[in-house]
């Protein structure tokens, strides 16, 4: 019997193509298409008084110049509020091209279409926009004060406000022998995929239809919104997501203003129009994430057991709120982490500022939650003089399922479905050498070196619904074609989904070919976000393959005159269990499944009407049957499955320069059974690297006027290999009861606790409370000075 492919470290099937220059990313599509460039606001907050495009029209090679006035019908209305939520009190979204006002530096105002991008930029530079300036609202503090308002007609800058609670937190805190308060801050960063966004829109005047290639994370979502905004039937719009050069969340919002504007232009000009975002545009107009100001009050007993946790936080959502409150909502629902918190209250305010809007970035608010909870755990340990791992062990959830009592981003009640936190902690302590660290610290100290160790635990709701689908077709050649509607941006879907299907169909992996994100084949899908690809599409394809298998065995059973129950499929051959002589290839079943009049090749001949014995008295296709060995199935879970993990870091800080180095980084990760451990490890490595970026290097440095000061790879310090530590990993595989494969999501896991684990280690090394991340050498050096002067010792 063939070895089960599920769980194997199988090298990726997409690699040979991507490595040899045969990838097809959105900018590779229609290389000669006419190109769009955008005039963007240089001001964070202003009214547009006049736009003079005359200069642009004089440039040879310019084809069209569009302002808001040129957008037709629904396309001229505000962009949609994609995810409504009861907490949203003031929903504001922007336009495809700014109308009357601009609310952040980078907001698109004019679209120029020209023969190529060079000329489009020449022309864009000749367009003059006259502004009347308003004062910008930048940062949580300015927004919270509310003396200046981002959106006209509002009395403050609050976009959303919500309170969720579990039990009576006031009573919990009142009865607690110990109470601590922490003020915390988390900076902005961004997904920053290596490929920016991009769209190629092709209008077919004959068919009056639109075909769009986009680097979107949701081809079905983009299709629906373009059809609505262009006011054309859904069937006349198709969206294809080709290879995507990373996304990490930023490509989930839709439509991006440029996607809509370019689609409008393609239709108006009856041609193909392309826009490829450049890096500068990506910095100032694609979404950011992360800025929050947080306050925690915790009550606990002498043993360090938490009795009550009261949290307030203020979330900077930027100028607009098209993706709703997913980020702060995720923060609020993940704070309790892997712990039993008897009484809990979380209240948040999501605030408008005159900066780039905030939508999910890998972890999507969960990293902020971990920062609050784990900084609190360390503070409790310090207060009571306990080991930091011990405090966590005393608070861990030990009984599963563990209902959380909160409503999550999928609208369902949160529940930790499975896990084994105690074993995870044991593993982590063992890998990193937690118990031996004091010896190492002493040794380092004797050499004049300063080191510290830290940890962070997290949970992550993954695999959110509502659903994903699979479509599988076995060709008469034996080739297995697999489609799922969600998109791919590095997740190895062509490999892991093929593993799942090949297992169920009993075919060699090489015969399985996976396609994703193409609405022409599977128009029902949600998208790739929130660590849901493997859970949702993986299970959908597993179920679809089961259906194909059942049909194949039934047809083969008739042919082999055997009970389908007695049949098995191995290496693409269907055979009677224990009797390989009675067998037929799956390919032959595919032939039989599709009765033919015409023989086009040798195998087709077997399916034609005179090839069979004289017909029994029944139709070729029975009632309720369909021709072809082809099935579609969907998977829809009750609720999200909750993955978990724990990270530990050992850092060294230079006693003089305050330079920070990560000496070791260890991960224990539990995402249930791993379809492909090679791929899961890769996801963890990449996630940690982004976490390290967020901990020590990356921030969005806005000045008070709302100008982003570091909008380039020279000044936005994404880590190179030299800055990222080697990651040591270990895994638990606790199955989820919530889906047939028992799997949980893994995509965001590496990022979520990384900054917090590093903060914990830095605090341990320095003996200074770390309440704000990221941290760079200059800031650390000033903190030391302030601490020495007695100015930095709150909460400790």
């Amino acid at each position: 019997m063939t070895t089960r492919l599920f769980g194997q470290k199988i090298t990726r099937r997409e690699d040979p193509r991507l490595l040899t220059g045969h990838g097809r990313y959105v900018d590779d599509v229609s290389g000669t298409a006419i190109a769009a460039a955008f005039v963007r606001s240089p001001h964070a907050h202003a009214d547009i008084l006049d736009i003079d495009v005359t200069g642009a029209l004089d440039v040879t090679g310019v084809i069209a110049v569009w302002t808001h006035e040129d957008l037709p019908g629904q396309a001229a209305e505000r962009l949609p509020m994609l995810i409504p939520h009861p907490s949203i009190v003031a929903p504001h979204t922007g336009y495809a091209l700014a109308k009357d006002h601009v609310n952040f530096v980078g907001e698109p105002i004019v679209m120029v279409i020209a023969e190529n991008r060079y000329i489009a930029e020449d022309a864009a530079n000749r367009i003059e926009v006259e502004y009347s300036f308003r004062e910008a609202v930048v940062g949580v503090e300015a927004s919270r004060e509310g003396t200046r308002i981002v959106h006209e007609g509002m009395e403050d800058n609050v976009a959303a406000h919500i309170v969720q609670d579990v039990g009576d937190v006031d009573a919990g805190l009142e009865g607690a022998p110990h109470v601590l308060e922490l003020d915390l801050e988390f900076e902005r960063s961004a997904c920053m995929p290596m490929e920016g966004k991009g769209v190629v829109a092709r209008w077919d005047p004959g068919e009056e239809s639109l075909e769009v290639h986009s680097s979107t994370q949701t081809s079905t979502g983009l299709r629906a919104v373009l059809a609505a905004k262009l006011e054309i039937p859904l069937t006349r719009v198709e969206v294809i997501t080709p290879d995507v050069g990373g996304a990490f969340g930023v490509k989930i919002n839709h439509p991006w203003p440029e996607e809509l504007a370019v689609a409008c232009a393609a239709r108006a000009l009856e041609t193909t129009v392309k826009w490829t975002e450049d890096r500068r545009e990506h910095f100032i107009s694609s979404a950011h994430e992360r800025a929050q100001t947080q306050w925690v009050k915790v009550g606990f007993d002498d043993e360090g057991r938490i009795l009550g946790l009261d949290v307030k936080f203020w979330h900077d959502n930027g100028a607009y709120l098209p993706y709703g409150v997913i980020v702060p909502l995720n923060t609020s629902t993940h704070i309790m982490g892997p712990y039993v918190i008897p009484t809990f209250r979380v209240e948040y305010w999501s605030l408008y500022t005159n900066t780039v809007m905030v939508t999910p970035y890998r972890g999507a608010g969960r990293a902020h939650a971990v920062f609050m909870m784990e900084r609190t755990m360390d503070a409790i340990a310090a207060e009571l003089g306990l080991d930091r791992t011990e405090v966590r062990l005393r608070n861990f959830v030990r009984d599963f399922p563990h209902p959380m009592g909160l409503r999550m981003q999928d609208g369902a009640e949160g529940c930790i479905d499975s896990g084994d936190f105690v074993t995870s902690m044991d593993k982590l302590k063992s890998i990193v050498g937690w118990d031996e660290f004091e010896t190492y610290r002493e040794q380092a100290r004797s050499e004049g070196r300063r080191v510290g160790i830290g940890l962070a635990c997290y949970i992550e709701s993954t695999g959110a619904g509502p659903y994903e689908g699979g479509h599988i077709e076995v060709e008469s050649s034996g080739r297995v074609n697999v489609w799922t509607g969600l998109t791919t941006h590095g997740q190895a879907h062509a490999t892991v989904f093929a593993q799942i299907v090949a297992d169920e169909l009993g075919v060699p992996l090489e015969t399985v070919h996976v396609k994703t994100g193409d609405t022409r084949k599977l128009p029902y899908s949600v998208g790739t976000w929130g660590s849901r690809g493997a859970v949702m599409a993986g299970n959908a394809l597993h179920l679809t393959a089961k259906k194909v298998r059942q049909k194949a065995l039934r047809i083969a059973g008739e042919s082999l005159e055997a009970d389908p129950e007695d049949l098995e499929i191995d290496e693409g051959m269907i055979q009677v269990k224990g009797d390989p002589s009675a067998s037929m290839p799956l390919a032959a079943v595919s032939v039989l499944s599709n009765p033919l009049r015409y023989a086009f090749d040798e195998s087709a001949r077997a399916a034609t009407q005179f090839a069979k014995d004289s017909a029994e008295d029944e139709p070729s296709i029975g009632p309720g049957e369909q021709p072809g060995l082809e099935e579609q199935e969907f998977f829809s879970p009750l609720r999200s499955t909750v993955a978990n993990g724990m990270h530990a870091a050992i850092v060294e800080t230079d006693p003089e320069t305050a330079d920070i180095r990560i000496l070791r980084y260890c991960v224990v990760h539990d995402c249930g059974p791993m379809v492909n451990p090679l791929v899961v490890e890769g996801q963890v490595h990449g996630g940690v690297a982004q976490g390290v970026g967020g901990a020590l290097y990356e921030k969005m440095a806005y000045d008070a006027d709302g100008q982003l000061l570091n909008a380039s790879f020279m000044d936005f310090l994404m880590p190179f290999a030299s800055e990222v530590p080697h990651v040591e990993t270990d895994h638990l595989e606790t199955p989820s009861p919530l889906n047939p494969l028992g799997i949980k999501g893994a995509g965001e896991a590496g990022t979520i606790p990384a900054a917090t684990a590093i903060a914990s280690a830095l605090e341990d090394a320095e003996g200074i409370p770390i309440r704000s991340m990221p941290l760079d050498p200059s800031t650390l050096w000033h903190m030391r000075t302030n601490h020495a002067a007695g100015e930095l010792n709150r909460s400790r």
């Binding site: 005039v39 963007r40 060079y118 930029e121 080191v451 050992i650 330079d659 080697h726 000033h782």
Partner: protein, 339 residues
């Protein structure tokens, strides 16, 4: 001080951002004479293009929009890298189109002026050094650049030619401000000349950058003259913390000190360095931190030079404490030693 006009300034100063250059005409002269003719005719609105590693990003962002570029990479006679003997003392002549990488790889350079090679390894990354030129860096006069500092610290000079004639400029005459030289728009630097270091000199360079290959937060180059066990001279140059590559001569302050007293003297060196420099603050580090950091690097570098013969490989400021970390941070798990 003013930081380098690069990508960052596009953000600060520009209205419409772009990533494609404005229309321009590229000339590819093959002789110096031809180049000088072009410069005489169109130098005021054109720019010399050598490796382009600093210039092209600026063009792509349209921070500059020259009408013409004079690509000198095919010009005969300015591609030579040689050590020559001038009046009995050796010197390294680096032609205008010689890449950083050629200089860095030259055994002759390492032998005669190890400081040059050591500092070069801190210039961006290999792919940039493969194309970028040493003379181009000097002409760019970036206070964050290592090469202008090395030229100044080692007492080097450049030769510039124009239709009007030829002149030789020492580093102090060349560098008049951040990103500003005393060259005229019709002049071409044909070569830079770095004198050989004297036999008794120990040299070193170190800097701390946020990431490998980034501009330094602060960097220090040092030439320590030693006679036996006694210090006879000390000169320091700085990166990213002075407007122009001014040289701090601590000869008087430290001469006569014993190498074995390095630790005490190092404090003096650090203090003098901090007094001498004039760093600015930005989003990556405050001015106070840079000042502090430059002192730490100077102190460590001085102690390192007192310990050894000066030559050393690439390291970070953290590494230059001289102790190896007991934990290997890269490689397979099996290679790892437990903390």
């Amino acid at each position: 001080m003013v930081r380098k006009a690069t990508a960052a300034d596009a953000v600060r100063n520009r209205v419409n951002e772009t990533m494609k250059p404005s229309p321009l005409r590229i000339h590819r002269p093959t002789t110096v004479d031809e180049t000088l003719d072009l410069l005489a005719a169109r130098g005021d609105t054109g720019k010399i293009l050598a490796g382009g590693q600093s210039l092209v990003p600026v063009l792509n962002m349209r921070l500059a929009a020259p009408s013409d570029l004079f690509d000198i990479t095919s010009v005969v006679g300015i591609d030579e890298l040689e050590v020559s003997d001038a009046d009995g003392s050796e010197e390294i002549c680096v032609g205008a189109s010689v890449t950083h990488r050629r200089v860095e790889r030259s055994a002759e350079v390492t032998r005669t002026n190890p400081l040059l090679g050591e500092a070069l390894r801190f210039v961006a990354h290999p792919a940039v050094r493969n194309r970028g030129t040493t003379v181009g860096s000097i002409a760019h006069a970036d206070p964050n650049g290592e090469m202008p500092m090395v030229l100044a610290l080692t007492g080097g000079r450049i030769e510039a030619r124009s239709r009007r004639g030829e002149r030789t400029l020492g580093a102090e005459e060349l560098n008049i401000g951040p990103l500003e030289t005393s060259l005229e728009s019709d002049e071409l630097i044909t070569r830079a000349i770095f004198p050989a270091l004297s036999a008794g000199s120990r040299t070193g360079f170190d800097e701390l950058a946020r990431r490998s290959g980034d501009y330094a937060l602060a960097g220090v180059g040092m030439i320590l003259d030693v006679d036996g066990e006694t210090v006879t001279g000390l000169r320091c140059g700085f990166v990213s913390v002075t407007d122009v590559p001014d040289i701090l001569d601590l000869g008087e302050a430290v001469s006569g000190a014993r190498l074995s007293d390095a630790s005490e003297v190092a404090a003096t060196v650090a203090e003098a360095a901090r007094d001498f420099i004039d760093p600015g603050g930005d989003i990556h580090a405050s001015a106070d931190y840079r000042r502090h950091l430059a002192g730490v690097i100077a102190s460590r570098l001085f102690r390192r030079l007192c310990r050894s013969d000066g030559a050393s490989g690439r390291g970070t400021a953290a590494d230059s404490r001289g102790e190896d970390s007991p934990v290997v941070t890269t490689g397979d798990d099996t290679e790892r030693r437990r903390a």
